[in-house]
């Protein structure tokens, strides 16, 4: 059986009809007890299981997934990786993720295709240029690579943009993070799954949590569609459905579930080399390695658990795209979909022990969970292994809402609420 991935093994397997590859991850039957349980087989859950094993040596771990791993938001997002945040607390967490992403393919021996093609965030008015300056200054102070872009700089990286002074949203310049880019979403999930499985983690699919086992006021395991499984440390990373599991565990979260849409065009030869964000028009776009224009949608306006797209939001998003890239109007929409995201009042994640002792949560990433997967996994694994916060996760505890210590990036970028 071929285990290690490399050009050479691929070549050898090519000569042998690609018949020697072993399963990317094992699918064992669940055991009755584990040292730790991770609920949720998305990127965050899989990364948690992997880092539990790798960083903390805890390998007797079950990862429970309701459907198929990577089938939720991990496989439905627009794959952008970046760390251009305003507050030092946010920078710390997203920078941790960003740096781990930079070494992830080598760490996992799985090409996650991290493509650091840079990201420009556009400014359409003098006021937006000032806010961009404020954000870029904050990033530089916090040690993140960021610079101010002039119109000519923007033109250099994204020549297809609408530079007409008559554009509805003229481009005055913007901010730039060169280390930003995209990664292959499925590969992140599968790479972590393969890594975790090899270190001993049991990945159990089609295993839905029906209830928590609560004894003496503490969480002691879970009842599932595949039987009861016990452990004294349980972590959950179930974006989109955090409130549903929280309700089973007897607490509430500051979360509303909304559909976030995305869509892709038919594949075309390369025309857009960087990630472009235009806050004024809501455009969040890049071109995949396959050639599809990947269009990030706006959050839906209606709370929902229905994983499907709708028309009004899509129309607005595409109108914004064509305003910024008029020549894209010759393209056709190929696929439209939606994921369910946890929307938190301050749009920052929630990481920490839940009100039910022994149950630890990682949720609330809103529209930006993908880029944080390595950090979310590292921090939840740390909590599960030590019972204590990592310094980086401490500010993101659920207790911040009662203290009023919100970490609102939107507020920090000049938006009055």
């Amino acid at each position: 059986m071929t285990r290690r991935y490399s050009a050479l093994s691929l070549f050898k397997e090519g000569l042998a009809g690609q018949k020697g590859w072993e399963p990317a991850w094992r699918s064992p039957e669940p055991k009755k007890t584990y040292d730790a349980i991770v609920i949720g087989g998305g990127g965050h859950g899989l990364a948690t299981a992997y880092y539990l094993a790798k960083n903390h040596g805890i390998t007797n771990v079950a990862l429970l997934e309701k459907g198929w791993i990577g089938g939720g938001n991990t496989g439905r997002n627009t794959t952008v990786v970046r760390s251009n945040y305003y507050y030092p607390e946010s920078v710390a967490i997203y920078d941790l993720a960003h740096r781990l992403y930079e070494g992830l393919s080598a760490d996992l021996n799985y090409n996650v295709m991290l493509s650091q093609r840079g990201m420009v965030f556009l400014a359409h008015s003098i006021n937006e240029m000032e806010i961009t300056a404020r954000t870029v200054n904050a990033m530089q102070i916090n040690g993140i690579d960021a610079e101010i872009f002039s119109v000519d700089d923007v033109r250099r990286v994204a020549p297809m943009l609408n530079f007409s002074p008559n554009a509805r949203f003229p481009i005055l310049g913007g901010g730039w993070q060169g280390r930003a880019g995209t990664a292959r979403h499925d590969a992140v999930a599968w790479g972590y799954a393969r890594g975790a499985s090899r270190l001993g983690v049991d990945i159990i699919q089609n295993c839905e949590i029906t209830d928590f086992i609560i004894e003496g006021g503490r969480c002691r395991g879970v009842h599932t569609t595949r039987g009861s499984i016990r452990a004294d440390r349980i972590g959950m990373a179930v974006a989109g459905h955090s409130s549903v599991l929280a309700a089973k565990a007897g607490f509430r979260l500051p979360v509303n579930s909304y559909a976030l849409q995305a869509c892709v065009s038919e594949p075309v030869k390369p025309i857009l080399d960087t990630v472009v964000l235009s806050p004024g028009t809501g455009v969040y776009v890049s071109q995949s390695d396959k050639g599809e224009i990947v269009i990030g949608g706006a959050l839906d306006r209606i709370p929902s658990y229905g994983q499907r797209g709708n028309l009004p939001v899509l129309e607005g998003v595409i109108a914004g795209l064509l305003e910024m890239f008029p020549t894209f109007a010759q393209l056709k929409l190929m696929r439209q979909w939606a994921g369910i995201v946890d929307v938190v009042p301050d749009s920052s994640p929630i990481i920490g022990e839940s009100p039910l002792p022994n149950l630890f949560i990682n949720c609330g990433w809103g529209t930006g969970g993908f880029k944080a997967i390595p950090a979310g996994g590292t921090l939840l694994a740390h909590l599960l292994a030590t019972g204590k916060h990592h310094d980086i996760s401490r500010p993101f505890d659920l207790d911040r809402f009662a203290f009023g210590r919100l970490l609102d990036e939107a507020a920090g970028s000049g938006i009055a609420h």
Binding site: R252, P254, P303, Y305
Partner: protein, 88 residues
């Protein structure tokens, strides 16, 4: 594009409406409200999957109302004006 029913105007396109929060989230007055109670009012949500009871406003006529709907299949059950709904 969903159709919501304004208790006054009748069925209208979803784009004419705005989500106003979960029904039953009553405001505690005063400064002696505990931090947890206040945070619960401000931030904590049931966020149900399935049957939901929510406050909506029809932006064109300004009517605030309680709507019961399903957050998965999006079926709308009832719409009642806020001042005639119990425990709004």
């Amino acid at each position: 594009m969903q159709l919501f029913t304004c208790p006054f105007c009748g069925p209208r396109d979803e784009t004419e409406f705005h989500f106003g929060g979960e029904s039953g989230n009553l405001r505690p007055d005063g400064t002696d409200v505990t931090a947890d109670r206040w945070a619960s009012y401000l931030y904590m949500r049931d966020n149900p999957k399935g049957a939901a009871r929510e406050i909506w406003v029809h932006m064109n006529c300004g009517e605030f109302f309680v709507m019961e709907r399903d957050t998965v299949n999006h079926k709308v059950e009832t719409s009642i004006a806020l001042d005639s709904a119990e425990h709004a």
